[in-house]
Amino acid sequence: MTTQTHRMQFPLSAADARTLRAGDQVIIDGEIIVTAGLPTHQRLMHCLDGQEPLPMAMQGQTLFHIGSYSQENAERFEVLYINPTTSTRFNPYMPRLIEGLELHAVGGKGGLDAASAAAMQRTACVYLSFLGGGCTLLSEAVREVLEVGWSEMLTHYRVVRLRVEGLGPATVAIDAHGHSLYADAAEQAQRSLPALMAELDADRLR
């Protein structure tokens, strides 16, 4: 597999999302939407149910599981840092969010399950893996806070639209064609477990 690094403009279009292959690297310029909140995802479900409006225009956008610490200074928000969080806890909500909002890029760290990967295939969406704990590096890419939704929520639960320049590199961990590096790794590990156990037994002293 040859790995390619792409520098791309966000929000990602469906066509651009389809050009990416699992294992590729992406450096992001443009606009992204981030949140790290479980309550936020539950509230977004209510929005899709028509119970309240979305906190901002999210249709066809990017939604990353990235927490941000924003502070309000003289009527504007300033983001002090961003950091990815584990996406798997949002598994129950993501298929519906991906399809309901027609997302073309999601991400965070740790991956999403098969139901999400299937939804991503339907909307032409990629999952990008950011460096966990890479807060210092990743925060350097933030240029501007464009919009803060649900500012009454805890800072990292808010829905924040950012302008970034050179964010990443992030790994395309699930592509828009249904290929998931997480599923590959889990399958490979499970498949090799009997052999690894045999090796552990064979090499044991005494």
Partner: protein, 213 residues
């Protein structure tokens, strides 16, 4: 905690106050991640926070305080199971299954700490402390030194790799502690993410504070 260390004043309160001062002063600020498990409300304060555990070290006149923060990435995947008279195969199989369950999620390459024996709570404590051991230090117990070497090799053949997107580096180290017990043998596994953040301060009896790491 050195048994020759001298204390005066309310030490528990000082730790709580110290954290409150950190919350008030540190830039950029700390996230309000202290969660009440009954209401799921979050903030900077909560019952028993910061959680403090300690051990005693004979003949020392200082106190070491280690701070090793971790979150949903690596703290979430710790596991403990109680076995009855397990052989080494059973213990190693539990570690491997726990690593497979954590999979891509704990920000690999991780440091894995294992605690074998003692009691339910003590095994968990040993596994957590094991993650703090200096990487590269050889376990003085030959059975465990061998187990650490074999487990590290096996875990690095699982294929999860950095950030779980595939590769040969899943564990930076496997560190194992043990204690004698009854025969019902708890085995605990803890993870620390690759960032492996930590700092340790040593407070001497004469009031000197030394940053050890």
């Amino acid at each position: 905690m050195g048994t020759q260390a001298r204390f005066s004043g309310n030490v528990r309160q000082a730790i709580t106050d110290g954290f409150a001062e950190l919350v008030a002063s540190i830039q950029p600020p700390l996230l309000p991640h202290v969660t009440n498990p009954l209401t799921l409300e979050r903030g900077h304060h909560g019952k028993d926070m910061p959680i403090v555990t300690f051990d005693m070290v004979d003949d020392q006149d200082f106190v070491d305080i280690t701070c090793s923060p971790k979150a949903l990435g690596s703290g979430r995947w710790a596991a403990l199971e109680i076995f009855s008279f397990p052989d080494l195969h059973t213990i190693e199989e539990f570690v491997m299954n726990t690593v497979l369950k954590a999979g891509s999620q704990p920000c690999p390459p991780v440091v894995i700490g294992v605690g074998i024996g003692g009691t339910f709570d003590y095994a968990a404590k040993m596994s957590k402390e094991a993650t703090l051991r200096t990487i590269g230090e050889i376990n003085p117990e030959p059975i465990l030194a061998d187990m650490e070497r074999r487990l590290a090799r096996a875990i690095n053949k699982t294929g999860f790799g950095p950030m779980g997107t595939g590769g040969d580096s899943t564990a930076m180290a496997v560190h194992i502690n043990y204690a004698a017990g009854h025969g019902f043998t708890p085995v605990a596994v803890s993870f620390n993410c690759w960032i492996n953040r930590r700092t340790r301060a040593r407070i001497h009896n004469d009031g000197r504070v030394e940053i050890v790491e």
